[in-house]
């Protein structure tokens, strides 16, 4: 018979699970509270969620301190890995979620916020993402990913209108296909290495000197396809605009930040060792993918007529931009990735919130989407402050200094330059110019055209004090990003470098 296993509790490092557990507990308690007393106002749930997320963030930051002292920590039979990437990722995930959950505090009533399940699912999703980044075990990645994704599909659909159902179904179906890819890719990796922990896979492959290069490449192809979907790389990106359009601006903004950073961290763990071991194929493929993703999505964004769709394409392009960091694969570039994403979260938060506050419940006659450009026409004349804010976020997205994203941009481009990818740096720079066109388009509408009266009534109607505060936070974060860049850079470099990336 089996010998009883003796595992000391200390060696388990149960505490490494704490952040995720907090989120899960939060989710469960929301469910319980709803069961005990239904019909509570959404602000209650928002605050509860915020509280749990705050706790969550606190623990993560605490781990950060521990990490800086002791280095990476493994826990729970090596299932949970708390290294710099995981901590950085979790901070962005949790902090981003905190900012976005508050967007539920609209002045208008929306279906999903009247369901406590929404908040519960939201917290579950965060837990899922946290698991996903805080491990290098492919099973954990997979399960975490699915937990988060399933919750996300439901969140999208909860908006309860046909477009959001359509979005959810599309997202779900493609997600299922991507899950298949992921599973198959992992299977092949497992076949050739017998391991499902990424660092073990890496070491075994290295020890074999990549004897089964064909298998590796096929596995990488599948995994690339799976993460290409998650990170919306062309041609796996097709869900992005539709899903963004179908979901609320708040959720779309959220999707442009949090799920992607989780994806990036896993992609970083998965692909960088390959890039570093000189798998030329992967370098070339990534190179092409980065360039195509950036360029194609920029070009498509130009011809959009809806701001949210435009921002969707723009977020594809940003993802492509950041993917370059993984291709470059130096400490500097990985640092740049986090820096960029942190800055992007603020700007995107602002931009999507600006859309969110202008959301009307019903489409006007002749209006085909929630946020057509015409809606913003002449905004400077009717609502100057709103126009300036939106303009600010657009400029930041376009990478105009000294606004937030510019600093991320130069750091990534600088890392490309110092990583030897000069041409890539140029392409990235020129793509920013392409991107400027469509951001400018919105600015043109807002600042240079005459207002269209029937839209004027609906602007800012969804705003509430909390939403305005969030816009304010985003604006401050965007304008004064330069102050934060230096400390961010230092901290991130420490985390990234000490995690061995």
């Amino acid at each position: 018979m089996l010998e009883p296993l003796h595992v000391s509790l200390a060696s388990l490092n149960i505490v490494t699970l704490a952040p995720m557990l907090i989120a899960i507990v939060g989710a469960l308690s929301i469910l319980c509270i709803d069961m005990i007393k239904g019909g509570l106002h959404k602000s209650f749930y928002v605050m509860v969620s915020l509280l749990f997320l705050l706790l969550d963030l606190g623990t993560v930051i605490d781990f950060g301190n521990i990490f800086l002292k002791n280095g990476p920590v493994l826990g729970m039979f090596d299932m949970v890995l708390v290294d710099g990437l995981a901590i950085m990722g979790q901070i962005i995930i949790v902090a981003g979620s905190m900012l976005f959950i508050a967007l539920a505090l609209t002045s208008k009533r929306f279906h999903e916020y009247n369901n406590p399940e929404y908040f519960s699912l939201f917290l579950f999703m965060i837990a899922g993402f946290q698991f996903m980044v805080a491990t290098d075990n492919l099973i954990m990645v997979f399960v975490g990913l699915e937990t988060a994704s399933l919750a996300l599909y439901a969140l999208i659909a909860l908006h309860n209108r046909s477009k959001s159902f359509e979005a959810a179904v599309k997202y779900f179906t493609m997600g299922a296909l991507a899950a298949g890819f992921f599973a198959f890719g992992s299977m092949i990796l497992y076949a050739i290495t017998g391991a499902i922990e990424i660092n073990q896979i890496a070491s075994i492959l290295a020890a074999d000197h990549y004897a089964n290069i064909g298998y590796v490449l096929v596995a990488v192809s599948f995994l690339l396809a799976a993460f290409g979907f998650k990170l919306s790389m062309v041609p796996f990106h097709t869900w992005t605009p539709d899903v963004y359009e179908g979901s609320t601006a708040a959720l779309a903004g959220y999707m442009s930040i949090v799920p992607k950073i989780a994806g990036f961290i896993v992609a970083m763990r998965l692909f960088e060792f390959l890039v570093h071991s000189g798998v030329v194929w992967l370098q070339v493929i990534l190179y092409v993918a980065v360039v195509v993703t950036m360029t194609a999505s920029n070009i498509w964004a130009m011809v959009q007529t809806d701001v949210k769709r435009m921002l969707a394409y723009s977020s594809i392009s940003h993802a492509g931009f950041v993917m370059a960091a993984i291709l470059i694969g130096t400490t500097q570039s990985n640092t740049a990735l986090f820096l960029y994403w942190a800055l992007l979260s603020f700007t995107n938060l602002g931009a999507f919130t600006m859309l969110w506050v202008s959301r009307q419940k019903n489409l006007l006659p002749g209006q085909s989407s929630d946020h057509p450009f015409e809606k913003f026409s002449g905004l400077i004349k009717t609502m100057p402050m709103a126009a300036i804010m939106m303009g600010l976020f657009m400029l930041s997205l376009a990478g105009i200094p000294p606004f937030g994203l510019f600093w991320g941009k130069i750091y990534i481009i600088a890392s490309a330059v110092s990583g030897g990818y000069t041409v890539l740096a140029l392409i990235m720079a020129l793509n920013s110019a392409l991107a400027a066109y469509y951001y400018l388009k919105l600015i043109v509408f807002m600042f240079m055209k005459e207002p269209i009266t029937e839209y004027g009534k609906h602007y800012l109607t969804n705003a509430s004090l909390s939403l305005k505060t969030i816009i304010g936070i985003a604006a401050i974060g965007t304008i004064f990003a330069v102050v934060a860049v230096n400390p961010l850079l230092k901290v991130i470099t420490l985390f990234v470098y000490n995690s061995g990336y």
């Binding site: 399960v143 159902f165 359509e166 779900f172 179906t173 076949a191 391991a195 359009e245 959009q304 769709r309």
Partner: protein, 101 residues
């Protein structure tokens, strides 16, 4: 004639390909979901086979979790399908083109 790992892997690959074909050609959402199940099942065979030939349990575990994931997906997928059906009365994905461009 011995059945090797390659046999299983080829079988897994073929099934995966069938799944892919299904994913691509199905217009009925429900049947499209069937195809995604096939994809996951194909992978499961592979995992089990590799586990067997490596004499290692990890593969089986992976397959186990994949089954769990597949089950969850079905639940959510069907939920989505039901709301969609309630709204439109159809589960044909060709009518699902209100967003494009």
């Amino acid at each position: 004639m011995e059945i090797t790992l390659a046999h299983y892997l080829v079988l897994s690959g073929v099934l995966f390909a069938i799944g892919l074909i299904g994913v691509m050609r199905r217009k009925n959402l429900l049947m499209l979901f069937f195809a995604t199940e096939i994809l996951l099942n194909a992978t499961n065979i592979g995992f089990a086979a590799i586990a067997h030939f490596h004499n290692d349990l990890t593969g089986q575990m992976f397959a186990f979790f994949i089954i769990a994931i597949a089950a969850s997906e079905v639940a959510v997928g069907l939920g989505l399908l039901i709301v969609w059906y309630k709204r439109t009365g159809k589960i044909d994905l060709d009518i699902m083109t209100s967003m494009r461009g």
